[in-house]
């Protein structure tokens, strides 16, 4: 979240990606950075133990959300 917010503030479009159990922390971090409404993509947990194919499926699944937040038509 911190990286996403700092990149946005530096003028570089960025979307943070977290897994669902990190929702509380994600919001707390955004608040700590003075950006409480910072929109991010939340995906199912876990990620660390996924295979390459499963990772790719996760990425495909989150793309529409990611593009929407970036404002890509």
């Amino acid at each position: 979240m911190a990286d996403g917010i700092l990149l946005e503030r530096a003028g570089l479009p960025a979307v943070s990606i977290c897994t669902d159990p990190f929702a509380l922390t994600a919001r707390a971090m955004a608040k700590a950075y003075g950006f409480p409404g910072f929109e991010y993509v939340s995906i199912p947990h876990p990620v660390a133990s996924l295979s390459e194919a499963e990772i790719q499926a996760r990425v495909h699944g989150l793309l529409p959300d990611l593009l929407r937040i970036l404002g890509v038509e």
């Binding site: 911190a2 509380l24 922390t25 707390a28 971090m29 700590a32 390459e52």
Partner: protein, 408 residues
């Protein structure tokens, strides 16, 4: 009844509940802190209340001397404990991992403080029986002072910025004194260049504390092998290598000493024998190492580095210096512990400031891994009002002649 013990219990409970409602506690009641009480703590040091002890740049927050003092008072410390609390913060800052954000991690680490020198007796720090347990105000509240500082100065609360999956009971408090009197070896802080009459805190970040019960042997190699097997358990092997603080009971320490072993001998033995075979590691899916993170993973993982040709015992420590040896507990049984430290692995020590022999020069401004405790004679100043233990300043108090009052 002693008139001095007559207080308005409802007022006390109101203060207690107020602090709990503000989210300023670890779940246990805290001691209300007024400006005048805070002044007693600040009088224990020459440092400026605004001095930063430990910055947390990623949160844009910092623990200052003043915040450390408020949280020490909240924790139930007596003012004369405060120099120890300050040294603990300094040592934790030098250790490095908290500044990098480890206290937000899912791993769920806690600070571990080891106190050496005359201050132990002066403030009643326990170094003997039940050294990890409860019952001693100085141990209980000095460790807790750090914990409350983490919660309040940085806002690292569970379910918010502290993402620990399970955490550790050590998060409430984990502060011991070395049992120098029953140790056959030089005190821990003298290993870092301090003199025995100095008082010092050596702080580190830990994951857990594992019990070793070994009353069965008088053979140093057998006991050391037992300890090595505990250090090298696969569950602790997240990364390629690990580090540890071995807390020996006086009986175990004397067993080694009687056989002619010094601390360096024990460290060398543990370095050589804290090993796993490739097959053992493979059975847990940890035989390879990630090319990116150096975390352990199975050999068929896409990030895995090719396995080395040798197939014998694989060391889990990078160097003997990755093990810290300290003596604590009662001299009544063969019970010791391996404290699994999160700190620097390998060449660097498991403890705070001195990260490696080769980089020792860069730490010359510090005494060493231990932070020296500095007393002060600055007089206390008067003043009355309730103070906030949080980094972000708030105005929430009204002063009264009685010292404590609260306004929402």
């Amino acid at each position: 009844m002693d008139p001095a013990l007559t207080v308005d219990a409802a007022e006390l409970r109101r203060a207690m509940e107020y602090y709990a409602d503000q989210g300023w506690t670890d779940g246990l009641p805290v001691v209300p802190v007024t400006e005048s009480y805070l002044a007693e703590f600040l009088a224990q040091t020459d440092r400026d209340p605004g001095d930063v002890l430990l910055p947390m740049p990623q949160l844009n927050r910092a623990c200052t001397v003043r915040l450390a003092a408020i949280n020490a008072a909240l924790a139930g410390c007596r003012p004369e404990y405060f120099p120890v609390v300050l040294a603990a913060w300094e040592s934790l800052a030098a250790e490095g991992y908290p500044v990098k954000g480890i206290w937000q991690s899912t791993t769920g680490t806690a600070p571990f403080l080891i106190v050496n020198g005359p201050v132990r007796d002066r403030i009643g720090l326990n170094s003997q029986g039940n050294v990890f347990g409860s019952g001693f105000r100085a141990n209980a509240t000095i460790g807790r002072a750090i914990r409350l500082g983490v919660l309040n100065a940085f806002g690292l609360r569970p379910h918010e910025l502290d993402q620990a999956t399970q955490g550790t009971p050590a998060k409430y408090t984990f502060c011991i004194a070395e049992n120098e009197e029953e140790s056959p070896w030089p005190a821990l802080h003298t290993e870092f260049g301090l003199a025995a009459p100095d008082s010092a805190v050596t702080a580190m970040v830990i994951r857990s504390c594992v019990h070793i019960e070994a009353r069965h042997t008088r053979v140093p190699e057998q006991l050391a092998t037992d300890i090595a097997g505990t250090i090298s358990r696969t569950g602790a092997l997240i990364h390629e290598t690990i580090s540890a603080a071995v807390v020996l009971s006086p009986e175990h320490a004397r067993l080694f000493s009687a056989a002619g072993w010094g601390k360096p001998d024990l460290r060398q033995f543990l370095f050589d024998h804290a090993v796993r075979t490739r097959a053992e590691l493979a059975a847990a899916g940890k035989e390879a190492v990630s090319s990116r993170t150096r975390w352990r993973l199975p050999a068929d993982h896409p990030d895995a580095l090719p396995l080395a040709a040798e197939d014998g015992a694989i060391r889990v420590l990078n160097s003997p210096a990755a093990v810290l040896v300290v003596v604590a507990g009662a001299g009544n049984a063969g019970v010791s512990a391996v404290v699994e430290t999160f700190g620097p692995r390998g060449g660097p020590r498991a403890t705070s400031a001195r990260t490696s022999v080769s980089r020792a020069e860069s730490w010359s401004v510090r005494d060493a891994g231990s932070a020296r405790i500095r007393p002060s004679k600055r007089p206390a100043t008067a003043g009355v009002s309730t103070v906030s233990p949080r980094a972000a300043a708030r105005t929430l108090s009204a002063s009264t002649a009685r010292g404590v009052s609260f306004r929402r």
